[in-house]
Point group: C2
Chain length 104, copies 2
DNA sequence: ATCGAATATACGATAGTGCGTATATACGAT
DNA sequence: ATCGTATATACGCACTATCGTATATTCGAT
């Protein structure tokens, strides 16, 4: 989760991710649409790929980048924990932590 | 969204947030449970508060911190956009961006 | 009023991160 | 083989963020 959050917590990378939400893009397209330098795009895509947020397929010398579903699914599941806690449906672990941390 | 992500994209802060998931805590509790220095906790809580992720209520000289729901709800809504895009239910904006960005 | 406990802030040092420029690499076209 | 296009990487610099230590502030207790 921290890996995903760290990758997304950068303005330019978040913009790239939001663009890719609407479909795969080549590096050159991203560069042009978001008005970025080419190395900037490549560098950020590298970080996003290392974080597992995007994957690329080669098309001659061009690379098509697209989002991977997994990290977003994971984020959804992670958020579930918070939703549950507010709905008062604390599971066993939560209940345990709830009392074990109280001041003696 | 960027504000929320930036606040969460720090190991110690994420740990604090995950702890607060199970209920409000005083600064001293967080310090003790997560084995952090006191200024470290205060500083991170300040960042989390500025980002709107937590709020505090005063109890004498102690401050009880708890999570705010809004940013997490927002994250859920933000994720919805990605879920929709994968399910092929592109809305008008998405469809527009889908074609307007193609190479001529 | 004074003291101790709880929390917040200031400040200097350090490390990590992103940017720009230059360069390397891969591939299709000729 | 050579050239142009597309993408990736290297390197130096600047900025930001985090940490540790010290100090300020607030409040209850005495």
């Amino acid at each position: 989760m921290l890996t995903t959050l760290t990758a997304l917590a950068e303005p330019t990378r978040l913009r790239i991710v939001e663009l890719l939400q609407f479909g795969p893009r080549y590096v050159g397209e991203i560069e042009r649409l978001l008005v970025l330098t080419q190395p900037q795009v490549s560098k950020h895509l590298r970080v996003l790929r290392d974080a597992g947020l995007v994957e690329s397929t080669a098309d001659a010398q061009r690379r098509l980048y697209e989002l991977r579903r997994e990290p977003f699914v994971e984020m959804g599941e992670w958020l579930e924990g918070y939703r549950r806690s507010w709905e008062g449906h604390l599971d066993a672990l939560a209940a345990h932590l709830e009392q074990s941390g109280d001041d003696p």
